[in-house]
């Protein structure tokens, strides 16, 4: 039972990170029907920003907790800026092009960003400082829930609640929902669609950066290639929950996190990634609309 609980909580913290990244995929897909292949790289850049800020501040001798907060804020802002720029360069000129075109340029962007970070920083794994201190009152429970896991879960939940509020209650959120339903109609009623798309990319990228910094601090090392696998898994989560649906992305992330955690714990940890990919392939084949997605018939 204790082992089960351990796996369950491990899966929960892992799943909430997937959910954070999956939200970016799902929001972008909901609005412009594009798989933003470079999203995993934004997450990676978020983690690197966290590392750089943490490194500079540690050298200056700041206290750990303030480093964590500042690193998170700067990583989010910079990743949002990256998301904005990526959209302007690689996707905006391709609106209205055949569907394969933006997908290929997205793959190009992903390769470009990976290699840019590799060349500017290093191809090796870099150690990431532990930004989340072990809290004392967690001592008795440390066997199945580390402080960083708890922190990840709490942060993810608060970020997701904030996102839901943003989409439900603000003007921009309303414009996003309108654009997702029907872009042309939204334009007709005066929504600045270009702006909505930019904001969507920025919000999604910011969420990915939160995930990037948290997981990097939890695992303790990063390199330029971490975005690829995380990106694909988060995409799996988004599809699993039903792409375009925000609660779906969260549910999908959690289900994927638990699947991986239990499969690794009870079967074999070598095939952890294989399970994720098999889940992706099976979902797409048998229920392409996902768990919470609506099955849409195609109009001719």
């Amino acid at each position: 039972m204790e082992y089960f609980l351990q796996l369950f909580l491990g899966g929960l913290s892992r799943g909430s990170i997937y959910a954070l990244i999956a939200l970016g995929y799902t929001m972008v897909y909901g609005i412009i029907e594009l798989i933003n292949f470079a999203h995993g790289e934004i997450y990676m850049i978020g983690a690197f920003m966290g590392l750089i800020v943490a490194g500079v501040l540690t050298a200056m001798g700041w206290p750990t907790l303030s480093i964590l907060v500042i690193a998170l804020i700067i990583a989010v802002l910079y990743s949002a800026a990256y998301g904005y720029t990526v959209e302007k360069i690689a996707y905006k000129p391709l609106r209205g092009a055949p569907r394969l075109a933006p997908l290929i340029s997205a793959i190009g962007m992903s390769i470009l960003l990976q290699n840019y970070v590799m060349l500017a920083q290093t191809p090796d794994f870099l150690p990431f400082p532990r930004l989340i201190p072990d809290l004392e009152f967690m001592g008795p429970y440390a066997n199945f829930l580390a402080t960083s896991d708890l922190f990840i879960i709490i942060t993810s939940i608060s970020v997701m609640v904030a996102l839901t509020m943003f989409i439900k209650f603000t003007r921009m959120g309303k414009a996003m929902r309108a654009t997702a339903q029907n872009r042309k109609m939204a334009m007709l009623v005066g929504v600045n669609v270009d702006q909505v798309i930019s904001v969507t990319f920025m919000v999604g990228s910011g969420l990915a950066a939160v995930g990037g910094v948290l997981i990097a601090s939890h695992i303790g090392q990063i390199n330029f290639a971490i975005g690829f696998l995380a990106g694909i898994k988060a995409f799996t989560a988004a599809v699993l929950g039903g792409i375009g649906s925000i609660p779906g992305a969260v549910l999908g992330g959690l289900v994927l996190g638990w699947t991986e955690s239990f499969a690794a714990g009870y079967i074999s940890s070598d095939y952890e990634d294989v399970f994720a990919f098999c889940l992706l392939v099976l979902i797409l084949i048998f229920r392409p609309a996902g768990l919470l997605g609506k099955q849409r018939s195609q109009k001719v």
Binding site: L112, Q114, N115, A120, I232, V274
Partner: protein, 406 residues
């Protein structure tokens, strides 16, 4: 007007350069060492970034203006213009001697140049066939396959394992590899028939990853990340060659396979199934309504592409005599895709050109080889934005009605 436009562009480029420099500042300039708690500042990189992005931004705006003008021309009924290069190349009186000359150079190559050069050319030829194979799936049938390298791995591992366990020779495994490749192509093709566009891309990507991960982790089967070594080179009726002769021999095998592939794909393009693929690419529903068997056409595309990749896998294993899962990563798939995209989706000549450019350029410009993938990525974006048809536009059969005779 023109001057004002130019000044406007320069101003926009300067702003873009400043923005990009700001954006890349932390990653480019700062390097931290969290163990030693030291920070290195590399301000020179900021200067490079400013100058580089300014130049790029000027070029970007110039090309963007040209693209918009081109779009305006087309809208006003200018029609699609073909580039001078492709018009010149399509002229039979240029094309035929050029082809003969190319073949002559190719045949004489190993006798004139060193083994090293021949080896490089063999890999370029392998990528030509891989590109042509992927061109069938992506360029002709419009099915974006991001796990293409999995079939390449199937062929390579088929030869390596059969050779290792049963001492089967190259010529026995070559057809077996082709059949196995087709089998895997159909195996992947069946479940994904219902998917379209981007979902298909992701499933094939997942499939490619599954194959690689299984090869990496199932050590009893594939010897894991250590790979398989001592794979025999091809022989001829019991004759075995030394390293140098074997290279020349593999070179000629590759040359024959390339010529065969070019012939087959060029003929396929104009065949019944080739036209079905083009119809499938343009509009799936309309295609079905015209009475084309979508399932069959899709499976054929997958199976043929996979067959070619698997054949190349066998040759690759025989050439290097050592394989491991690291040769079959997603980056490899992305590179083959880059070849097809840059060359021109659907165009045989374009894909050949693309393969030579992308494989030979980094090989001969060693200084740039670090930047190879960076440039690939950038090229894929730029080609999609400014020249979606690639270097050479695929030629479509046009039926011209002769109005004067009527």
């Amino acid at each position: 007007m023109a001057v004002a436009n130019l000044l406007g562009n320069l101003k926009k480029s300067a702003i873009a350069a400043l923005w990009l420099a700001f954006l890349t500042l932390p990653v480019m300039v700062i390097r931290v060492d969290t163990v030693e708690k030291t920070v290195t500042w590399r301000w020179m990189h900021l200067a490079y970034m400013l100058v580089g992005s300014f130049v790029l931004a000027v070029a970007w705006h110039f090309l963007m203006d040209r693209r918009d003008r081109g779009a305006a021309n087309r809208d006003s009924g200018g029609g699609e213009t073909q580039s001078a290069l492709s018009l010149w190349l399509e002229n039979p009186s240029v094309m035929r001697p050029l082809m003969a000359f190319g073949l002559l150079v190719a045949v004489a190559f190993p006798w004139v140049f060193s083994m090293y050069q021949t080896n490089i050319l063999i890999s370029a030829l392998i990528y030509v066939v891989l590109g042509l194979g992927l061109n069938i799936t992506v360029g002709l049938a419009g099915l974006l396959d991001l796990g293409y390298v999995a079939f390449y791995a199937v062929g390579a591992y088929a030869y390596a394992l059969l050779n290792h366990h049963f001492q089967l020779g190259f010529w026995t495994v070559l057809p077996l590899g082709a059949i196995l490749g087709a089998f895997f192509g159909i195996l992947l093709g069946f479940p994904v028939l219902r998917l379209r566009g981007d979902y298909l891309a992701i499933v094939t990507l997942g499939f490619g990853q599954i194959v690689r991960l299984v090869l990496e982790n199932w050590s009893a089967f594939s010897n894991g990340p250590a790979g398989i070594s001592n794979i025999s080179r091809p022989g001829l009726f019991g004759v075995t060659y030394g390293v140098d002769q074997a290279t020349t021999y593999i070179y000629y095998i590759m040359l024959a396979l390339v010529v065969l592939t070019i012939f087959v794909t060029a003929r396929l393009k104009d065949s019944r199934i080739g036209r079905a693929w083009l119809a499938l690419r343009e509009d799936e529903i309309a295609c079905q309504a015209m009475g084309i068997d979508n399932t069959r056409a899709k499976l054929m595309a997958f199976a043929l592409g996979a067959t070619l990749a698997s054949l190349m896998g066998v040759v690759f294993a025989a050439k290097t005599t050592y394989i491991n899962p690291a040769s079959f990563t997603f980056m490899e798939s992305a590179m083959i895709l880059a070849i097809v995209v840059l060359g021109g989706m659907g165009s045989v000549l374009g894909v050949i050109l693309g393969a030579f450019l992308l494989i030979l350029l980094p090989e001969y410009m060693r200084a740039f080889s670090e930047y190879r993938m960076l440039i690939f990525g950038a090229t894929m974006i730029l080609v999609m934005v400014f020249r979606p048809q690639g270097l050479i536009r695929a030629k479509r059969k046009v039926y011209k009605i002769n109005t004067e005779a009527a």
